[in-house]
Amino acid sequence: MPMPEWLRLRRAEPVPADQAAQWTKCPKCGSMIYRPDLAANAWVCTNCSHHFRMHAFDRISMLVDADFVEIGGELLPGDPLGWTDKVPYPQKLQRDREKSKLTEGVVCGFASIGGTPVALGVMDFNFRGGTMGTVVGERITQLFESARERHLPCVVFTASGGARMEEGMLALMQMAKTTLAVRRFHDDGGYYISVLTDPTTGGVSASFAFQADVIMAEARAAIGFAGRRVIEQTIRQKLPENFQTAEFLLEKGAIDMVVERSEVKGTLMRLLDYGSGAQRSANGRVAVARAIGAPAEPAESRP
């Protein structure tokens, strides 16, 4: 399979003309940053270190060694509830497709990171706020199922406003579906690292984001269950500045580590290395099962 066009473009030098000569304002410190500089700095403000929300394609390009083979990309959302408010749901989807160049809120596939083959899922807030509908749930589920079949560690970058309202209960059920896939992957010896990025809330934080073996968060990312506004409305008082930040969660003991974006890849490589034994032992179990003539389902379904 050839390298995806978006990845080839991001690997090409120099920056394509349509992306050059653009300036972006940092929402935190207000400085104007030359876009190619921002891209070269992994979408971290060169002035104040604010971490911009990253496009999934940029994130993947930054992480993977060479190629990326997407899975589940052909899955596109339907309109199960026939939802219309200001505009029909399919129109919202179309608008987000054009705006983000994505087909849904997560990009999943296979790649290697620092020489370790992984199953990689990257969510993107640009597509309907990274909300989980049936397609996000299905792609994540397929990712864990393929990772299990291939005995690959799984790395998922989360960014989500929660379950997607426009798909109603079918969206909520994706929490159950992805959980079952993570559980099966784990029970088979799989190693799973989640990286929580800004923002990770609602149904995604309350399912696969918080089911990983190691939970890493990007510096200053907003992470929680209920949204900040909901809590403020419920308790009718202002929340402290650092409430629901990655640093706050670290202090409360909810996550393993907080990492600056520049350190994410290096940290991931070390974490993957620590877990390489787990993958070997999973393979070992399969080998033993084969040797003793016992059924070894994962091996049989291996491509």
Binding site: L170, M173, L180, G203, F210, F225, K252
Partner: protein
Amino acid sequence: MNAIVEREKGLIELEQRITALKTHAAQQPVDLTAEIRALETKYAEIQREVFGTMTPWQRVNMARHPKRPLGSDYIAALDQFDELHGDRHFRDDRAIVGGFAKLRGRRVIAIAQDKGRDTKEKVLRNFGMPSPEGYRKVIRLVQLADHLGLPVVTFVDTSGADPGIGSEERAQAEAIAQSLYELADAGVPIVATVIGEGGSGGALALALADRVLMLEHAVYSVASPEGAAAILWGDAGRAEEAATRLKLTSDDLLRFGIADEVIPEPLGGAHRDPAGVVASVLTAVDAALTALSTIAPDELRDRRYRKFRRIGSAAP
């Protein structure tokens, strides 16, 4: 004010008149049979008109009716119940009641969300919104059930998980995620019944089950109508509109294949015959447990996987 309570007012008045007339007729030597029959006919007509077809918003109100049987009423109707308290770490969350029980003679672990009836009890039970320690109690009880080979029976009734500061500090998302994770692999039958409101992840955390039953006027939604309206339009006041769009009634969920069975309620709602409704729910749960009881643990896990796997799936 609850919309169903409003609509019931006329009916309750009529009911009182019929009762008064009947008492009068019993005491006085007058024949009021015709009058009573006329009133009863009128009563039945109004009842059919009010409850025969209900909008999704009316059904949300029915699910929240102040007299609707609550989690504790189902627990109280079990043959036997020994409550087990606490998450062994922080405190006992009273929004969730759980423990050993006997249901129609069968040993089970029963877990119920309870909103509380009067003001004092509502505060005690945090209006049925569980905190992380509530979900951690669920995790502990499901592990215990798995360990002892006891089926798990849950009664779901919550507007959602508690959205307070303390709950966030103690990692509400992690608690729900782990509750789901535990239910995903328990090698014992799990039967969940939505008895009132199934609000979002806070409800699902008790409902990743082999069989999901719903009372006729229970609702189950991706977010409470108020929550969905706030998320979508920044205006919780548009809850009625959200309720209409969310497809949250028991017939919707049966059609989606999310609910496996709908348990009928008397005309006018469960609170018209609380004991009867509680009994019919327990009968349905018992039947579901009987059907699941012969399935081996691995097969049970497999079927549970497939049940949720196909929801919103591209595969046939």
